[in-house]
Each structure stands twice: as C-alpha cells, then as structure tokens.
C-alpha cells in the first residue's frame, strides 16, 4: 500500500527528527519577521479605536494568543486520539509537547484579557462565560502536564493524558459559542469565517499578520518541544546515540543531520 507509506514514515520519530531539522531556521525567520512587523504596525501605525482608545491595541496579541490556545488544543486532542487508535509513538510525543505551549498561550490570552478589561470594563476579572471557559482550558492543559509526570510508566501517562485531552474537547465549542449563548461582558468575535470582519482594514491587516505570525511561531515551538521529547525518549536507540556522537562542538539542536541523511 504505497499510499500509506507517508503515514508509517510519519510514525517514525527518527524520520520526523531529520526531516524537520532544516525547517527550523526558516520558520524562525518567518515567525519573527511577521511578529515584529505586526507588533510595530499594530502599536504605532494603526489608528486608535474610537470607543476604546489605545487600549484596543492589546487585540493584536490577545486574539492571536486565544486562537492558538484553542488550535493547540485540537492538535493535542487529535494527537492523543491518533496515539490511542494507531498506537503511534510520535503522536504521543507531539501531544505531550503541545501541552505546555497551549498552557502558556492560554495564560497569555487570560492575562492580556484581564489587563485589557481594566481600562475597558473597569475590572480585571469577571466570571463571564468566555473568561471562565478559557480558565477551564488552562486547567485542562495543566491537568495533562500533571498527568504526564504522575505515572512511572510512559504508556500509562500517555494513555491517560490522551483520554483527558479527548474528554476536554467538550469545552472547545463552549468557548466558541460562549459569547453568543451568554451575552455577558466579553464582546462577540471581530473575525468570522462566514461573514465580513467587523473591524476596519487599517486594524484588520496588522491583526491578520499577527495571527499568521502566531501560527508559524506555534509550529516552530511545537517542533522544538517535540524534537526534545524525541531525543529523550529514543535515547537508547542507535540513531540518537549516533546523533550525540556526531553532533560537533556547536551542539545546537537544529544541526542534527549526519551526512548520509542529507
């Protein structure tokens, strides 16, 4: 079955490690360029909001961080499912790698939301539906990180984390719909796939740059965490031993290619 070959290859941590190594410098350059341009544009060149003034500029990090907090949960849950169903080692490694990144981005969206809330709503925190469901998302991420270190057996840790990740997906549609179901404090979405955005293009373009920048950044960081997990779990295999020996004096994790792999 030639069409399934890529799938089996994808299951090989060694293949994944060597394949993704050369991508890292490119992803770094693209992510940092997008994020720097988007930040400068959003902070200094886009106009102020006529209602909220300058505090609205927090949108340029708050919305992309929240997007990736949710997208990162999909990544983690899908990898958990793939790991459970096909017993793919690599899927569990990606799942484990996704948890701290998702937790950090959820934390960023909660903190920037709180800071934005103070001048806009007059309060740092409110038990609003959107905010509460995002807090639950943070606890899900932290729960998975805790489960990962709670077991002696690698297999038990992976399986139980995958199950928690899958159960936690119940929270995702609640987060999306919370601003429509309970119209409390958080404003409804400014960007929707199904309709025209409700913000002006002078604010939309830097926001889109930041969102794309956050996606590329996420991909980069997910690769870095996964690669670290791969070498640790595969430490006893021949190819990692070879990697340890061959990796010259520079010792950077990106140059993990031996000659025959190139």
């Amino acid at each position: 079955m030639a069409s399934w070959q890529w799938f089996h290859r994808l299951g090989s941590p060694r293949w994944f490690y060597h394949k993704t190594g050369p991508w890292l410098p490119w992803l770094t350059v693209v992510a940092l360029t997008l994020l720097v341009v988007g930040t400068v544009w959003g902070l200094a060149f886009s106009p102020a909001d006529f209602k909220q003034g300058n505090s609205y500029r927090i949108i340029y990090i708050h919305v992309p961080a929240a997007f990736l907090a949710l997208a990162g949960y999909y990544v983690m849950a899908i990898c958990g499912a793939v790991g459970l169903i096909w017993k793919m080692k690599l899927a569990f490694m990606v799942m484990k790698a996704a948890a701290p990144i998702g937790a950090a981005l959820t934390f960023v969206s909660l903190v920037t939301g709180a800071i934005w809330g103070k001048p806009t709503w007059g309060t740092w925190w409110e038990w609003d539906a959107r905010i509460t469901s995002m807090l639950i998302l943070l606890f899900l991420y932290l729960g998975i990180m805790a489960l990962q270190s709670a077991f002696q057996s690698r297999e038990a840790a992976d399986k139980s984390s995958a199950i928690l990740a899958l159960v936690g997906t119940v929270n995702i549609p609640i987060i999306y719909k919370s601003v429509d179901w309970w119209y409390t404090l958080h404003q409804p979405a400014s960007l929707k796939l199904t309709s025209a955005p409700s913000i002006h293009s002078s604010m939309l373009y830097p926001l889109l740059l930041m969102i794309v920048g956050f996606y590329v950044f996420y991909a980069l960081v997910l690769l870095l965490y996964t690669r670290l997990e791969i070498v640790k779990r595969e430490a006893r295999t021949g190819w990692v031993k070879e990697l340890v020996n061959h990796e010259g004096t520079s010792g950077g994790p990106s140059d993990g290619l031996s000659k025959e792999d190139r």
Binding site: S46, G53, F107, V108, P119, F217
Partner: protein, 65 residues
C-alpha cells in the same frame, strides 16, 4: 500608512492606556521568548550531558584494560 502618534512621549503614554498596552505586550513577548528558548537550551544541555557520559564511559573502559 504613517506614524499614528504626535510624538514619542505620546506614543509611550497612549493617552492613559500606555501601561496596560505595554504590560500586555511585554508579558506576551516574554512568554514567547521563553517558549522559543527553553526547548532549544534544554536540548543543547541534554546533548552535552549525553556526550559527557559517553566520554566518561569510554575513559572508564580504557582504564580497565
């Protein structure tokens, strides 16, 4: 496209919202720098430790002979 603010101090203060905006961006960039550097540095350290262990093992073996 042009600089939105009248002056640099106007840019820093952003009306009264400067502290909120700058704190948000500062925290975000800080967290992102950590996300980027932490796995990279940890992997570098891990590879160094492994290499040192291999060298120790080899030294022990040759001392036995």
């Amino acid at each position: 496209m042009r600089f939105y603010f009248d002056s640099l101090s106007d840019f820093v203060q952003m009306g009264t919202h400067g502290p909120y905006v700058w704190a948000s961006f500062g925290i975000t960039w800080g967290v992102m720098a950590y996300l980027l550097l932490s796995p990279w540095l940890r992997q570098r350290r891990w590879l160094r430790q492994q290499r040192a262990r291999v060298r120790r093992d080899q030294a022990a073996k040759s001392a036995q002979r």
